[in-house]
Amino acid sequence: MLKVNNLHASINDKEILKGINLEIKPGEVHAIMGPNGSGKSTLSAVIAGKEEYVVTEGNVVLDGKDLSGLAPEERAHKGIFLSFQYPVEIPGVTVTNFIKTAINETRKANGLEELAAKDMLKLIREKSDLLEIDRKFLSRSLNEGFSGGEKKRNEIFQMAMLEPKLAILDETDSGLDIDALKVVAKGVNKLKSANNAVVVITHYQRLLDYIVPDFVHVLYNGKIVKSGGKELAFELEEKGYDWLK
């Protein structure tokens, strides 16, 4: 589904990613771990198309198509979803209106009609029920005054609505207590299917107790230095990152 080939990327002439190779197949869950500053968030931002980063070598391919040069929204239309570590607050725009706009823009880009108001409402109900989200929450301004847990749940709600092929969860566990973490993980697990894939980016093994990865990759200094099964995460938890440097 997604292939990252020898990806090099830099920001302000500073090279952050130094040759990443990664292959993700439908139905898989990958975890990317690594110490601070290893390039985890850069990798997710580059896959999502953030414009400040310059890809100097290599590429990202989704379903056989090279994503180079595509704007973030075009990548989203093709099925890439990035859940933010710090979701942005947008006062004056309700969760519902925001997601409506996102869905209809995606449909438009894929040559589909806008979703009728009635169907949109139905979809919103269905997904908010699935994720056990209080509907009152949906008429609040996007992320404004949300707690850390609410912000992350809102991210997962948007993911549920947009039904991406590939979801990248960037440090979704940061700032969450264990209950909030469980709720978010439960949501992700409900959305998992044989046709989509999830990349979990995290510092700690904690989240991986709830979202169990098929593969774990360790990112260090812009490169994947080790890959393995889920047991690698336990090893990292025990030994730290130093032995891999």
């Binding site: 999502a48 198309g49 953030k50 414009e51 400040e52 704007a71 973030p72 929204e73 990548r75 989203a76 239309h77 890439i80 979803f81 990035l82 933010f84 979701p87 942005v88 947008i90 006062p91 004056g92 725009v93 309700t94 209106n97 925001f98 997601i99 409506k100 706009t101 996102a102 869905i103 209809n104 823009e105 995606t106 880009a109 806008e114 301004s141 948007q158 947009l162």
Partner: protein, 440 residues
């Protein structure tokens, strides 16, 4: 002959040909005003309050001072400028003259009619003597000029204990009957005790010719009156507006003036609130969205003179291309005005390198037991917020518009007439060149 000389020398002819009553108090006010204007001339950038707005480019035109309409204006020409989906009283002026044909006036529960008849009819002498030119700032030369040439405008007189059932629309059209036209409308709004009125004012050029409007509005809110005033400024690129709006409030009254500036070449809003009693609430709101080389200057004053009053001021601005904005917010809290609660906020977004905003909060506080706050921000659009929206599939252009729309939304939310709220939201969407697909 420059414009000032032309105006001064036209004054006698104006009073004579207008068959104005030379024995009235109004005549005395005009005379005093023209003398003051003759002495001071047009305000220049040397004056502190005019530091960031130059009238010079506007003054080089050879304005026709007393235009006559050549091509008649019908309802179909003006329909789109009116709020049509609700019942309103409507006062339509074309090239400075009242059009009874296009207007809906009333004398039933209150007077919604023209100032010329108020100035000339004995019935209104007391109201005129009590209120006319009583609050307009006599140190503001440009307002004095308006007073000197006062002949026509809106007159809204609401007796006590009256809720005016429909909003009042006041619209001034210019038709381009001359190449360059100067209009000087004058509005007088008197709202009695416990009464309530909503007013929408607009100036609209129907042609591509040059129009300069120098408008003055005096608003008096008596005890416990509620007045909501909305100004729509969305004129053509050859139109400029200098507006002086002066509000005097008696105890426990609530008054709001909401200014929506989206168009025109140069717009200057002098907005002054004077609190003349306890328990008063004053509200000043504005959204300015500019592009090209447009210029809007909001210079405001809230004068707190009595205890236990409040004022809320919220102005937002979005500036693109080479547009320039000015926010000059003066709040005075006199010795006596203890327990004042004054809040002021001015937030601006600059979209392009060439755009400018000059923002100047000015608080003069002489009382010691007050709550006063002010905040001013100037920034750019949040790139992270844009990326966030794009990553959800919202294209950059729409994401930008949505963010800007959200930025101005808290001012739009203050509009109490739903149909007007929709209209303003549409203006904003238009101005930002997007279809939002929903109303917020």
């Amino acid at each position: 002959m420059d414009l000032k000389e032309k105006l001064v020398s036209s004054f006698l002819a104006f009073e004579n040909e207008g068959k104005l009553d030379l024995n009235s108090n109004t005549h005395a006010a005009r005379l005093e005003a023209i003398k003051s204007f003759e002495g001071n001339g047009f305000p220049s950038k040397a004056i502190e309050d005019w530091k960031y707005t130059s009238l010079k480019p506007l003054l080089k035109h050879d304005y026709c001072l007393f235009p006559t309409t050549k091509s008649p204006v019908g309802f179909k020409n003006i329909r789109k400028y009116l709020l049509n989906d609700i019942e309103t009283y409507t006062l339509v002026f074309v090239d400075g003259k009242f059009s009874s044909f296009l207007s809906t006036t009333t004398h039933d529960d209150c007077d919604v009619c023209v100032l010329s008849s108020a100035l000339n009819r004995p019935k209104y002498k007391m109201v005129v003597d009590n209120y006319f030119n009583k609050i307009a700032n006599k140190n503001e030369s440009i307002s004095q000029l308006n007073t000197a040439f006062t002949i026509e405008g809106a007159f809204i007189n609401v007796p006590k204990n009256t809720i005016v059932p429909k909003p009042v629309q006041i619209i001034y059209f210019s038709t381009g009957s001359e190449k360059e036209v100067l209009l000087q409308p004058r509005n007088l709004v008197v709202v009695g005790e416990n009464s309530h009125v909503q007013i929408i004012e607009r100036h609209q050029n129907l042609s591509e010719e040059v129009t300069l409007t120098n408008s003055v509005t005096e608003i008096f809110a008596n005890k416990r009156a509620v007045v909501d005033y909305y100004k729509i400024q969305n004129d053509t690129k050859n139109s400029s507006l200098i507006d002086g709006t002066y509000v005097s409030q008696k105890m426990q009254s609530v008054a709001s003036v909401n200014t929506f500036s989206f168009g025109g070449k140069l717009t200057r809003n002098n907005l002054e609130f004077y609190q003349e009693g306890e328990g008063i609430s004053s509200h000043l709101n504005g959204i300015t969205i500019l592009n090209d080389k447009q210029h809007v200057d909001n210079t405001t004053l809230v004068n707190h003179k009595f205890p236990n009053c409040e004022s809320f001021e919220l102005y937002k601005g979005i500036y693109s291309d080479k547009s320039t904005g000015v926010f000059n917010g003066k709040v005075i809290v006199k010795h006596n005005a203890q327990k004042t609660n004054a809040f002021q906020q001015n937030n601006n977004i600059l979209m392009d390198d060439g755009a400018t905003i000059n923002s100047k909060p000015q608080l003069e506080i002489f009382a010691d037991d007050v709550k006063c706050s002010h905040g001013c921000t100037i920034g750019q659009l949040d790139e992270t917020a844009l990326f966030y929206m794009q990553s959800r599939g919202i294209p950059k252009k729409e994401a930008r518009a949505l963010l800007l729309y959200a930025f101005g939304n808290d001012v739009v939310e203050k509009i109490k007439i739903p149909q007007l709220k929709t209209k303003i939201a549409n203006f904003i969407a238009d101005k930002l060149k997007v279809d939002l697909g929903f109303t917020l």
